[in-house]
Symmetry: C2
Protein backbone atom coordinates (compact mmCIF):
# COMPACT_ATOMS: atom_id res chain seq x y z
CA UNK A 1 0.00 0.00 0.00
CA UNK A 2 1.22 3.49 -0.83
CA UNK A 3 3.59 5.51 1.28
CA UNK A 4 3.94 9.30 1.26
CA UNK A 5 7.40 10.65 2.11
CA UNK A 6 7.91 14.30 3.03
CA UNK A 7 11.32 15.88 3.42
CA UNK A 8 14.33 17.28 1.65
CA UNK A 9 15.59 16.49 -1.81
CA UNK A 10 19.05 17.95 -2.08
CA UNK A 11 22.51 17.97 -3.51
CA UNK A 12 25.31 16.88 -1.20
CA UNK A 13 29.06 17.27 -1.15
CA UNK A 14 30.65 14.54 0.95
CA UNK A 15 34.18 13.70 2.01
CA UNK A 16 34.98 10.41 3.79
CA UNK A 17 38.28 8.55 4.27
CA UNK A 18 37.37 6.69 1.06
CA UNK A 19 37.14 9.75 -1.15
CA UNK A 20 35.23 12.88 -2.01
CA UNK A 21 32.25 13.75 -4.15
CA UNK A 22 31.58 17.46 -4.70
CA UNK A 23 27.98 17.22 -5.78
CA UNK A 24 25.59 14.30 -5.85
CA UNK A 25 21.91 13.58 -5.27
CA UNK A 26 20.99 13.53 -1.58
CA UNK A 27 18.39 14.66 0.95
CA UNK A 28 16.36 12.72 3.51
CA UNK A 29 13.28 12.24 1.32
CA UNK A 30 15.45 10.95 -1.51
CA UNK A 31 17.08 8.27 0.65
CA UNK A 32 13.83 7.32 2.39
CA UNK A 33 11.93 7.02 -0.88
CA UNK A 34 14.64 5.07 -2.72
CA UNK A 35 14.88 2.63 0.17
CA UNK A 36 11.10 2.27 0.64
CA UNK A 37 10.59 1.83 -3.11
CA UNK A 38 11.95 -1.73 -2.81
CA UNK A 39 8.96 -2.60 -0.66
CA UNK A 40 6.01 -0.47 -1.68
CA UNK A 41 4.67 2.26 -3.97
CA UNK A 42 6.24 5.52 -2.77
CA UNK A 43 5.38 9.17 -3.35
CA UNK A 44 7.58 12.18 -2.59
CA UNK A 45 6.55 15.60 -1.29
CA UNK A 46 9.53 17.96 -1.57
CA UNK A 47 10.87 21.00 -3.40
CA UNK A 48 13.80 21.40 -5.78
CA UNK A 49 15.22 24.26 -7.82
CA UNK A 50 15.50 24.63 -11.58
CA UNK A 51 19.02 23.18 -11.38
CA UNK A 52 17.64 19.74 -10.51
CA UNK A 53 19.08 17.36 -13.09
CA UNK A 54 17.05 15.12 -15.37
CA UNK A 55 19.28 12.14 -14.54
CA UNK A 56 18.35 12.49 -10.87
CA UNK A 57 14.66 12.67 -11.71
CA UNK A 58 15.20 9.58 -13.83
CA UNK A 59 16.79 7.62 -10.97
CA UNK A 60 13.71 8.26 -8.84
CA UNK A 61 11.34 7.43 -11.69
CA UNK A 62 13.25 4.22 -12.37
CA UNK A 63 12.33 3.20 -8.83
CA UNK A 64 8.67 3.91 -9.68
CA UNK A 65 8.61 6.78 -7.21
CA UNK A 66 5.65 9.13 -7.74
CA UNK A 67 6.99 12.66 -8.27
CA UNK A 68 3.74 14.59 -8.59
CA UNK A 69 4.47 16.06 -5.14
CA UNK A 70 8.02 17.09 -6.09
CA UNK A 71 7.60 20.82 -6.62
CA UNK A 72 10.02 22.64 -8.92
CA UNK A 73 10.59 26.34 -8.35
CA UNK A 74 13.01 28.95 -9.68
CA UNK A 75 16.30 28.98 -7.80
CA UNK A 76 18.80 26.47 -6.55
CA UNK A 77 18.21 23.10 -4.90
CA UNK A 78 19.15 22.71 -1.21
CA UNK A 79 22.90 22.07 -0.96
CA UNK A 80 24.70 20.47 1.99
CA UNK A 81 28.36 19.56 2.32
CA UNK A 82 30.11 17.70 5.11
CA UNK A 83 33.29 15.89 6.02
CA UNK A 84 33.45 12.69 8.10
CA UNK A 85 35.94 11.87 10.86
CA UNK A 86 38.43 9.03 10.19
CA UNK A 87 36.20 6.46 11.99
CA UNK A 88 33.11 8.00 10.31
CA UNK A 89 31.21 8.22 13.59
CA UNK A 90 31.29 12.02 13.47
CA UNK A 91 30.88 14.55 10.74
CA UNK A 92 31.43 18.24 10.35
CA UNK A 93 29.01 20.32 8.30
CA UNK A 94 30.93 22.53 5.86
CA UNK A 95 28.08 24.10 3.88
CA UNK A 96 24.32 24.42 4.39
CA UNK A 97 22.70 26.40 1.57
CA UNK A 98 18.96 26.01 2.11
CA UNK A 99 18.18 27.79 -1.19
CA UNK A 100 14.61 26.93 -2.35
CA UNK A 101 14.18 24.66 0.72
CA UNK A 102 14.11 27.75 2.96
CA UNK A 103 10.54 28.47 1.89
CA UNK A 104 9.37 24.86 1.63
CA UNK A 105 5.64 24.54 2.20
CA UNK A 106 4.70 20.91 1.61
CA UNK A 107 1.90 20.68 -0.97
CA UNK A 108 0.22 17.30 -1.10
CA UNK A 109 -1.42 16.38 -4.40
CA UNK A 110 -5.07 15.47 -3.91
CA UNK A 111 -4.56 11.79 -4.62
CA UNK A 112 -1.86 11.47 -1.93
CA UNK A 113 -4.29 12.51 0.80
CA UNK A 114 -5.95 9.15 1.26
CA UNK A 115 -2.74 7.09 1.33
CA UNK A 116 -2.40 4.94 4.45
CA UNK A 117 1.31 5.40 5.24
CA UNK A 118 3.23 8.58 5.97
CA UNK A 119 6.87 9.14 6.79
CA UNK A 120 7.98 12.64 7.67
CA UNK A 121 11.70 13.24 7.29
CA UNK A 122 13.51 15.74 9.44
CA UNK A 123 11.91 19.14 8.69
CA UNK A 124 10.35 21.92 10.78
CA UNK A 125 7.89 20.25 13.23
CA UNK A 126 5.16 22.73 12.26
CA UNK A 127 5.41 21.63 8.63
CA UNK A 128 5.30 17.99 9.71
CA UNK A 129 2.11 18.76 11.65
CA UNK A 130 0.51 20.45 8.65
CA UNK A 131 1.18 17.40 6.51
CA UNK A 132 -0.08 14.95 9.12
CA UNK A 133 -3.25 17.03 9.48
CA UNK A 134 -4.08 16.82 5.79
CA UNK A 135 -3.92 13.04 5.51
CA UNK A 136 -7.38 11.50 5.70
CA UNK A 137 -7.07 7.77 6.29
CA UNK A 138 -3.72 7.01 7.86
CA UNK A 139 -2.87 3.59 9.15
CA UNK A 140 0.60 4.50 10.28
CA UNK A 141 2.34 7.87 10.52
CA UNK A 142 5.65 8.82 11.98
CA UNK A 143 8.97 10.36 11.30
CA UNK A 144 12.31 11.71 12.25
CA UNK A 145 13.56 14.88 13.88
CA UNK A 146 16.92 16.30 14.99
CA UNK A 147 18.74 18.04 17.85
CA UNK A 148 18.00 21.52 16.47
CA UNK A 149 14.22 21.07 16.73
CA UNK A 150 14.46 19.24 20.06
CA UNK A 151 16.46 22.05 21.58
CA UNK A 152 14.95 25.21 20.10
CA UNK A 153 11.44 24.14 19.02
CA UNK A 154 10.58 21.78 21.85
CA UNK A 155 6.93 22.71 22.42
CA UNK A 156 6.18 22.67 18.70
CA UNK A 157 7.90 19.30 18.38
CA UNK A 158 5.99 17.82 21.34
CA UNK A 159 2.68 19.01 19.86
CA UNK A 160 3.69 17.38 16.58
CA UNK A 161 4.81 13.95 17.74
CA UNK A 162 1.80 13.64 20.06
CA UNK A 163 -0.17 12.45 17.02
CA UNK A 164 2.50 10.14 15.60
CA UNK A 165 2.42 6.36 15.74
CA UNK A 166 6.17 6.08 15.68
CA UNK A 167 9.23 8.21 16.17
CA UNK A 168 12.55 7.26 14.60
CA UNK A 169 15.56 9.03 16.12
CA UNK A 170 19.13 8.32 17.08
CA UNK A 171 20.40 7.65 20.60
CA UNK A 172 21.73 11.15 21.34
CA UNK A 173 18.45 12.65 20.14
CA UNK A 174 16.52 10.23 22.37
CA UNK A 175 18.62 11.32 25.33
CA UNK A 176 18.13 15.00 24.51
CA UNK A 177 14.38 14.68 23.95
CA UNK A 178 13.78 12.69 27.15
CA UNK A 179 16.37 14.27 29.41
CA UNK A 180 17.36 10.72 30.37
CA UNK A 181 20.83 9.31 29.83
CA UNK A 182 19.72 5.69 30.25
CA UNK A 183 18.08 4.56 26.99
CA UNK A 184 15.51 2.33 28.66
CA UNK A 185 14.31 5.24 30.77
CA UNK A 186 14.56 7.57 27.77
CA UNK A 187 12.30 5.22 25.82
CA UNK A 188 9.70 5.11 28.58
CA UNK A 189 9.63 8.92 28.75
CA UNK A 190 9.29 9.28 24.99
CA UNK A 191 6.53 6.66 24.74
CA UNK A 192 4.59 8.85 27.18
CA UNK A 193 4.84 11.75 24.71
CA UNK A 194 2.52 10.12 22.18
CA UNK A 195 4.10 7.57 19.84
CA UNK A 196 3.16 3.93 20.43
CA UNK A 197 6.46 2.86 18.97
CA UNK A 198 9.95 4.27 19.29
CA UNK A 199 12.87 3.23 17.13
CA UNK A 200 16.29 4.34 18.31
CA UNK A 201 19.00 4.19 15.67
CA UNK A 202 22.54 3.63 16.94
CA UNK A 203 24.58 3.81 13.74
CA UNK A 204 27.16 1.02 13.56
CA UNK A 205 25.75 -0.43 16.81
CA UNK A 206 22.36 -1.24 15.34
CA UNK A 207 18.88 -0.27 16.43
CA UNK A 208 16.30 -0.73 19.17
CA UNK A 209 12.53 -0.79 19.06
CA UNK A 210 10.50 0.07 22.13
CA UNK A 211 6.81 -0.27 22.82
CA UNK A 212 5.11 -0.14 26.20
CA UNK A 213 4.95 -3.91 26.41
CA UNK A 214 7.99 -5.05 24.49
CA UNK A 215 11.45 -4.33 23.25
CA UNK A 216 13.60 -5.51 20.35
CA UNK A 217 17.31 -4.90 19.87
CA UNK A 218 19.46 -5.72 16.87
CA UNK A 219 23.20 -5.17 16.42
CA UNK A 220 24.50 -3.39 13.34
CA UNK A 221 25.58 -5.19 10.18
CA UNK A 222 29.34 -5.43 9.90
CA UNK A 223 30.46 -4.12 6.54
CA UNK A 224 33.88 -4.76 5.08
CA UNK A 225 34.04 -1.11 4.11
CA UNK A 226 31.84 1.80 5.05
CA UNK A 227 32.28 4.14 2.11
CA UNK A 228 29.82 6.83 3.08
CA UNK A 229 27.32 6.73 5.98
CA UNK A 230 25.31 9.69 4.58
CA UNK A 231 21.65 8.75 4.35
CA UNK A 232 21.98 5.45 6.23
CA UNK A 233 19.49 6.54 8.91
CA UNK A 234 17.02 7.66 6.26
CA UNK A 235 17.42 4.39 4.38
CA UNK A 236 16.74 2.62 7.67
CA UNK A 237 13.52 4.62 7.99
CA UNK A 238 12.58 3.78 4.40
CA UNK A 239 13.12 0.05 4.91
CA UNK A 240 11.23 0.10 8.21
CA UNK A 241 8.09 1.87 6.98
CA UNK A 242 8.38 0.34 3.51
CA UNK A 243 8.19 -3.18 4.88
CA UNK A 244 5.25 -2.31 7.15
CA UNK A 245 3.43 -0.70 4.22
CA UNK A 246 4.10 -3.76 2.07
CA UNK A 247 2.57 -5.95 4.80
CA UNK A 248 -0.45 -3.66 5.15
CA UNK A 249 0.48 -3.15 8.78
CA UNK A 250 -1.94 -1.24 10.98
CA UNK A 251 -0.75 -0.28 14.45
CA UNK A 252 -4.24 0.68 15.55
CA UNK A 253 -5.94 -2.35 14.13
CA UNK A 254 -5.82 -6.07 14.63
CA UNK A 255 -2.38 -6.55 13.24
CA UNK A 256 -0.19 -5.31 16.04
CA UNK A 257 2.63 -7.81 16.13
CA UNK A 258 6.01 -7.56 17.77
CA UNK A 259 7.23 -10.01 15.13
CA UNK A 260 6.29 -7.76 12.19
CA UNK A 261 7.81 -4.72 13.87
CA UNK A 262 11.03 -6.63 14.58
CA UNK A 263 11.28 -7.70 10.96
CA UNK A 264 10.69 -4.08 9.94
CA UNK A 265 13.67 -3.09 12.09
CA UNK A 266 15.77 -5.76 10.36
CA UNK A 267 14.71 -4.53 6.91
CA UNK A 268 15.59 -1.02 8.06
CA UNK A 269 19.01 -2.22 9.15
CA UNK A 270 19.49 -4.08 5.87
CA UNK A 271 18.71 -0.96 3.81
CA UNK A 272 20.92 1.25 5.99
CA UNK A 273 23.81 -1.17 5.51
CA UNK A 274 23.47 -1.19 1.72
CA UNK A 275 23.41 2.60 1.70
CA UNK A 276 26.90 2.75 3.29
CA UNK A 277 28.49 0.54 0.64
CA UNK A 278 28.81 3.31 -1.94
CA UNK A 279 28.84 7.09 -2.02
CA UNK A 280 25.47 8.80 -1.80
CA UNK A 281 22.62 6.93 -3.48
CA UNK A 282 24.94 4.99 -5.81
CA UNK A 283 24.14 1.61 -4.28
CA UNK A 284 20.48 1.99 -5.27
CA UNK A 285 21.40 2.06 -8.95
CA UNK A 286 22.31 -1.62 -8.79
CA UNK A 287 20.59 -3.04 -5.69
CA UNK A 288 18.32 -6.00 -6.42
CA UNK A 289 15.50 -7.36 -4.22
CA UNK A 290 17.27 -10.72 -3.95
CA UNK A 291 20.23 -9.02 -2.26
CA UNK A 292 17.87 -7.55 0.33
CA UNK A 293 16.41 -10.97 1.10
CA UNK A 294 19.88 -12.51 1.33
CA UNK A 295 21.07 -9.88 3.80
CA UNK A 296 17.92 -10.32 5.89
CA UNK A 297 18.85 -14.00 6.19
CA UNK A 298 22.42 -13.04 7.08
CA UNK A 299 21.02 -11.01 9.98
CA UNK A 300 19.15 -14.08 11.15
CA UNK A 301 22.29 -16.18 10.90
CA UNK A 302 24.64 -13.96 12.85
CA UNK A 303 22.14 -13.13 15.61
CA UNK A 304 20.53 -16.54 16.27
CA UNK A 305 21.56 -18.61 19.26
CA UNK B 1 34.95 -29.55 34.46
CA UNK B 2 37.43 -27.42 36.34
CA UNK B 3 38.61 -24.00 35.29
CA UNK B 4 41.85 -22.31 36.35
CA UNK B 5 41.77 -18.51 36.49
CA UNK B 6 44.98 -16.49 36.67
CA UNK B 7 45.05 -12.76 37.28
CA UNK B 8 44.75 -10.01 39.84
CA UNK B 9 42.92 -10.08 43.14
CA UNK B 10 42.76 -6.53 44.36
CA UNK B 11 41.07 -3.81 46.33
CA UNK B 12 39.35 -1.10 44.33
CA UNK B 13 38.15 2.41 45.05
CA UNK B 14 35.40 3.39 42.61
CA UNK B 15 33.39 6.52 41.98
CA UNK B 16 30.42 6.50 39.58
CA UNK B 17 27.47 8.90 39.21
CA UNK B 18 25.64 6.58 41.63
CA UNK B 19 28.10 6.90 44.48
CA UNK B 20 31.53 6.13 45.77
CA UNK B 21 33.17 3.20 47.54
CA UNK B 22 36.67 3.81 48.92
CA UNK B 23 37.77 0.21 49.24
CA UNK B 24 36.13 -3.01 48.14
CA UNK B 25 37.10 -6.40 46.77
CA UNK B 26 38.08 -6.26 43.07
CA UNK B 27 40.61 -7.54 40.53
CA UNK B 28 40.16 -9.38 37.24
CA UNK B 29 40.63 -12.89 38.67
CA UNK B 30 38.08 -12.14 41.40
CA UNK B 31 35.40 -11.08 38.92
CA UNK B 32 36.19 -13.89 36.46
CA UNK B 33 36.14 -16.56 39.16
CA UNK B 34 32.96 -15.33 40.87
CA UNK B 35 31.17 -15.23 37.52
CA UNK B 36 32.50 -18.63 36.35
CA UNK B 37 31.68 -20.24 39.69
CA UNK B 38 27.98 -20.23 38.72
CA UNK B 39 28.82 -22.66 35.94
CA UNK B 40 31.78 -24.80 36.96
CA UNK B 41 34.37 -25.61 39.62
CA UNK B 42 36.83 -22.70 39.58
CA UNK B 43 40.36 -22.28 40.95
CA UNK B 44 42.26 -19.03 41.40
CA UNK B 45 45.97 -18.35 40.86
CA UNK B 46 46.80 -14.91 42.25
CA UNK B 47 48.64 -13.08 45.02
CA UNK B 48 47.36 -10.93 47.89
CA UNK B 49 49.00 -9.16 50.82
CA UNK B 50 48.55 -9.76 54.52
CA UNK B 51 45.83 -7.10 54.57
CA UNK B 52 43.48 -9.35 52.59
CA UNK B 53 40.33 -9.62 54.68
CA UNK B 54 38.77 -12.84 55.90
CA UNK B 55 35.32 -11.71 54.71
CA UNK B 56 36.67 -11.45 51.17
CA UNK B 57 38.21 -14.90 51.39
CA UNK B 58 34.85 -16.10 52.68
CA UNK B 59 32.93 -14.65 49.73
CA UNK B 60 35.16 -16.61 47.34
CA UNK B 61 34.90 -19.78 49.42
CA UNK B 62 31.13 -19.41 49.57
CA UNK B 63 31.20 -19.68 45.78
CA UNK B 64 33.19 -22.92 46.13
CA UNK B 65 36.23 -21.28 44.53
CA UNK B 66 39.45 -23.20 45.15
CA UNK B 67 41.96 -20.87 46.80
CA UNK B 68 44.97 -23.14 47.06
CA UNK B 69 46.58 -21.08 44.30
CA UNK B 70 45.87 -17.77 46.07
CA UNK B 71 49.27 -16.91 47.47
CA UNK B 72 49.50 -14.69 50.57
CA UNK B 73 52.68 -12.69 51.06
CA UNK B 74 53.76 -9.92 53.43
CA UNK B 75 52.77 -6.48 52.20
CA UNK B 76 49.70 -4.82 50.79
CA UNK B 77 47.23 -6.15 48.26
CA UNK B 78 47.12 -4.48 44.82
CA UNK B 79 45.01 -1.30 45.04
CA UNK B 80 43.35 0.49 42.15
CA UNK B 81 41.07 3.52 42.22
CA UNK B 82 39.16 5.16 39.40
CA UNK B 83 36.39 7.57 38.60
CA UNK B 84 33.84 7.09 35.82
CA UNK B 85 32.54 9.74 33.41
CA UNK B 86 28.86 10.76 33.74
CA UNK B 87 27.80 8.31 30.97
CA UNK B 88 30.17 5.66 32.43
CA UNK B 89 31.71 4.92 29.04
CA UNK B 90 35.06 6.34 30.16
CA UNK B 91 37.02 6.17 33.35
CA UNK B 92 40.02 7.91 34.79
CA UNK B 93 42.53 5.96 36.87
CA UNK B 94 43.27 7.82 40.09
CA UNK B 95 45.53 5.33 41.90
CA UNK B 96 47.46 2.23 40.84
CA UNK B 97 49.43 0.77 43.76
CA UNK B 98 50.72 -2.57 42.49
CA UNK B 99 52.05 -3.51 45.95
CA UNK B 100 52.55 -7.31 46.20
CA UNK B 101 51.23 -7.71 42.63
CA UNK B 102 54.41 -6.04 41.31
CA UNK B 103 56.37 -9.27 41.90
CA UNK B 104 53.57 -11.69 40.99
CA UNK B 105 54.93 -15.00 39.72
CA UNK B 106 51.97 -17.32 39.19
CA UNK B 107 52.50 -20.59 41.09
CA UNK B 108 50.15 -23.36 40.05
CA UNK B 109 49.44 -26.02 42.66
CA UNK B 110 50.22 -29.48 41.32
CA UNK B 111 46.59 -30.54 41.11
CA UNK B 112 45.66 -27.53 38.96
CA UNK B 113 48.05 -28.63 36.21
CA UNK B 114 45.81 -31.21 34.62
CA UNK B 115 42.66 -29.08 34.57
CA UNK B 116 41.14 -28.73 31.11
CA UNK B 117 40.14 -25.04 31.10
CA UNK B 118 42.32 -21.99 31.58
CA UNK B 119 41.45 -18.31 31.57
CA UNK B 120 44.27 -15.81 31.83
CA UNK B 121 43.20 -12.37 32.99
CA UNK B 122 45.07 -9.27 31.92
CA UNK B 123 48.64 -9.67 33.24
CA UNK B 124 52.14 -9.51 31.71
CA UNK B 125 52.06 -11.67 28.53
CA UNK B 126 55.25 -13.47 29.59
CA UNK B 127 53.53 -14.60 32.80
CA UNK B 128 50.52 -15.74 30.81
CA UNK B 129 52.88 -17.81 28.63
CA UNK B 130 54.52 -19.40 31.66
CA UNK B 131 51.13 -20.46 33.00
CA UNK B 132 49.92 -21.82 29.68
CA UNK B 133 53.16 -23.81 29.34
CA UNK B 134 52.67 -25.58 32.66
CA UNK B 135 49.18 -26.87 31.95
CA UNK B 136 49.25 -30.49 30.76
CA UNK B 137 45.91 -31.39 29.28
CA UNK B 138 44.12 -28.28 28.18
CA UNK B 139 40.93 -28.42 26.20
CA UNK B 140 40.50 -24.69 25.97
CA UNK B 141 42.83 -21.86 26.91
CA UNK B 142 42.57 -18.17 26.35
CA UNK B 143 42.47 -14.80 27.97
CA UNK B 144 42.43 -11.08 27.98
CA UNK B 145 45.04 -8.39 27.47
CA UNK B 146 45.13 -4.57 27.35
CA UNK B 147 46.40 -1.56 25.42
CA UNK B 148 49.60 -1.33 27.50
CA UNK B 149 50.80 -4.83 26.50
CA UNK B 150 49.62 -4.39 22.90
CA UNK B 151 51.58 -1.19 22.53
CA UNK B 152 54.78 -1.77 24.50
CA UNK B 153 55.08 -5.59 24.63
CA UNK B 154 53.80 -6.46 21.19
CA UNK B 155 56.25 -9.25 20.26
CA UNK B 156 55.87 -10.91 23.65
CA UNK B 157 52.10 -10.69 23.39
CA UNK B 158 52.08 -12.16 19.85
CA UNK B 159 54.25 -15.07 21.00
CA UNK B 160 51.81 -15.60 23.86
CA UNK B 161 48.47 -15.56 22.05
CA UNK B 162 49.85 -17.76 19.25
CA UNK B 163 49.08 -20.75 21.51
CA UNK B 164 45.67 -19.57 22.70
CA UNK B 165 42.34 -20.95 21.58
CA UNK B 166 40.52 -17.72 22.20
CA UNK B 167 41.25 -14.08 22.82
CA UNK B 168 38.76 -11.86 24.62
CA UNK B 169 39.38 -8.13 24.16
CA UNK B 170 37.42 -4.93 23.68
CA UNK B 171 36.91 -3.11 20.39
CA UNK B 172 39.60 -0.48 20.82
CA UNK B 173 42.11 -3.19 21.79
CA UNK B 174 41.11 -5.20 18.71
CA UNK B 175 41.73 -2.15 16.54
CA UNK B 176 45.08 -1.48 18.18
CA UNK B 177 46.25 -5.09 17.99
CA UNK B 178 45.27 -5.52 14.34
CA UNK B 179 45.99 -2.04 13.06
CA UNK B 180 42.58 -2.19 11.38
CA UNK B 181 39.80 0.27 12.13
CA UNK B 182 37.10 -1.92 10.59
CA UNK B 183 36.19 -4.65 13.10
CA UNK B 184 35.54 -7.32 10.50
CA UNK B 185 39.00 -6.80 9.04
CA UNK B 186 40.47 -6.52 12.54
CA UNK B 187 38.97 -9.90 13.40
CA UNK B 188 40.42 -11.53 10.30
CA UNK B 189 43.88 -10.18 11.12
CA UNK B 190 43.70 -11.34 14.74
CA UNK B 191 42.46 -14.82 13.81
CA UNK B 192 45.64 -15.13 11.72
CA UNK B 193 47.70 -14.51 14.88
CA UNK B 194 46.76 -17.82 16.45
CA UNK B 195 43.43 -17.95 18.30
CA UNK B 196 40.67 -19.96 16.61
CA UNK B 197 38.10 -17.77 18.29
CA UNK B 198 37.97 -14.05 18.94
CA UNK B 199 35.46 -12.38 21.23
CA UNK B 200 35.24 -8.61 20.99
CA UNK B 201 33.52 -6.93 23.92
CA UNK B 202 31.79 -3.64 23.17
CA UNK B 203 30.56 -2.58 26.60
CA UNK B 204 26.97 -1.34 26.49
CA UNK B 205 26.82 -2.26 22.79
CA UNK B 206 27.24 -5.98 23.39
CA UNK B 207 29.73 -8.45 22.01
CA UNK B 208 30.85 -10.21 18.84
CA UNK B 209 32.35 -13.63 18.28
CA UNK B 210 34.47 -14.34 15.23
CA UNK B 211 35.81 -17.60 13.87
CA UNK B 212 37.21 -18.18 10.41
CA UNK B 213 33.95 -19.65 9.20
CA UNK B 214 31.34 -17.84 11.24
CA UNK B 215 30.34 -14.80 13.21
CA UNK B 216 27.90 -14.07 16.01
CA UNK B 217 26.82 -10.65 17.26
CA UNK B 218 24.68 -9.81 20.27
CA UNK B 219 23.55 -6.38 21.48
CA UNK B 220 24.08 -5.37 25.10
CA UNK B 221 21.48 -5.89 27.80
CA UNK B 222 19.66 -2.68 28.65
CA UNK B 223 19.78 -2.10 32.38
CA UNK B 224 17.53 0.35 34.18
CA UNK B 225 20.56 1.56 36.09
CA UNK B 226 24.24 0.90 35.58
CA UNK B 227 25.65 1.37 39.07
CA UNK B 228 29.25 0.41 38.43
CA UNK B 229 30.68 -1.10 35.21
CA UNK B 230 33.92 -2.19 36.98
CA UNK B 231 34.56 -5.87 36.33
CA UNK B 232 31.82 -6.28 33.72
CA UNK B 233 34.28 -7.39 31.03
CA UNK B 234 35.84 -9.91 33.43
CA UNK B 235 32.42 -11.22 34.42
CA UNK B 236 31.69 -11.61 30.72
CA UNK B 237 34.86 -13.69 30.38
CA UNK B 238 33.88 -15.77 33.42
CA UNK B 239 30.42 -16.51 32.05
CA UNK B 240 31.82 -17.31 28.60
CA UNK B 241 34.48 -19.80 29.70
CA UNK B 242 32.40 -21.02 32.65
CA UNK B 243 29.57 -22.10 30.39
CA UNK B 244 31.95 -23.82 27.96
CA UNK B 245 33.66 -25.64 30.85
CA UNK B 246 30.27 -26.70 32.21
CA UNK B 247 29.42 -28.15 28.80
CA UNK B 248 32.77 -29.93 28.54
CA UNK B 249 33.44 -28.00 25.36
CA UNK B 250 36.52 -28.90 23.35
CA UNK B 251 37.46 -26.55 20.51
CA UNK B 252 39.95 -29.02 19.08
CA UNK B 253 37.71 -32.04 19.36
CA UNK B 254 34.45 -33.17 17.91
CA UNK B 255 32.34 -30.63 19.67
CA UNK B 256 33.05 -27.47 17.72
CA UNK B 257 29.68 -25.82 17.55
CA UNK B 258 28.78 -22.28 16.63
CA UNK B 259 25.64 -22.79 18.71
CA UNK B 260 27.52 -23.54 21.92
CA UNK B 261 29.89 -20.64 21.39
CA UNK B 262 26.98 -18.29 20.77
CA UNK B 263 25.29 -19.40 23.96
CA UNK B 264 28.60 -18.87 25.79
CA UNK B 265 28.62 -15.28 24.49
CA UNK B 266 25.07 -14.82 25.80
CA UNK B 267 26.01 -16.23 29.23
CA UNK B 268 28.98 -13.87 29.21
CA UNK B 269 26.66 -10.96 28.44
CA UNK B 270 24.25 -12.06 31.15
CA UNK B 271 26.99 -12.18 33.79
CA UNK B 272 28.44 -8.83 32.68
CA UNK B 273 25.00 -7.25 32.98
CA UNK B 274 24.46 -8.55 36.53
CA UNK B 275 27.87 -7.22 37.54
CA UNK B 276 26.84 -3.64 36.67
CA UNK B 277 23.74 -3.71 38.87
CA UNK B 278 25.64 -3.09 42.11
CA UNK B 279 29.00 -1.71 43.17
CA UNK B 280 31.96 -4.04 42.82
CA UNK B 281 31.19 -7.71 43.43
CA UNK B 282 28.09 -6.96 45.55
CA UNK B 283 25.68 -8.50 43.07
CA UNK B 284 27.36 -11.90 43.50
CA UNK B 285 26.40 -12.01 47.16
CA UNK B 286 22.76 -12.50 46.19
CA UNK B 287 22.74 -13.73 42.59
CA UNK B 288 20.90 -17.03 42.11
CA UNK B 289 21.23 -19.46 39.17
CA UNK B 290 17.54 -19.04 38.35
CA UNK B 291 18.13 -15.32 37.71
CA UNK B 292 20.87 -16.22 35.22
CA UNK B 293 18.55 -18.56 33.34
CA UNK B 294 15.78 -15.97 33.31
CA UNK B 295 18.05 -13.31 31.87
CA UNK B 296 19.33 -15.73 29.23
CA UNK B 297 15.70 -16.16 28.13
CA UNK B 298 15.24 -12.38 28.15
CA UNK B 299 18.13 -12.14 25.68
CA UNK B 300 16.37 -14.62 23.46
CA UNK B 301 13.15 -12.64 23.68
CA UNK B 302 14.50 -9.22 22.82
CA UNK B 303 16.74 -10.42 19.98
CA UNK B 304 14.49 -12.95 18.20
CA UNK B 305 12.74 -11.98 14.98
Amino acid sequence: MSLVVVGSVAYDGVETPHGRVDRMLGGAATYIALSASYFTRTRIVAVVGDDFAQEDTDLLLNHRIDLEGLERVPGKTFFWAGKYSPDMNDRETLVTDLNVFADFQPKLPERYLSDPYLLMGNIQPRLQRTVRGQMKSLRLAGGDTMNFWIKDFREELLATIRDWDFLLINDSEARMLSGQNNLKKAARTILDMGPHTLVIKRGEYGAMLFRNDSMFVVPGYLLDDVFDPTGAGDCFAGGFIGYLAQQGFDLEGDHISRGELSRAVIYGSVMGSFCCERFGVERFRTLEPAEIDARFEEFRKFTAF
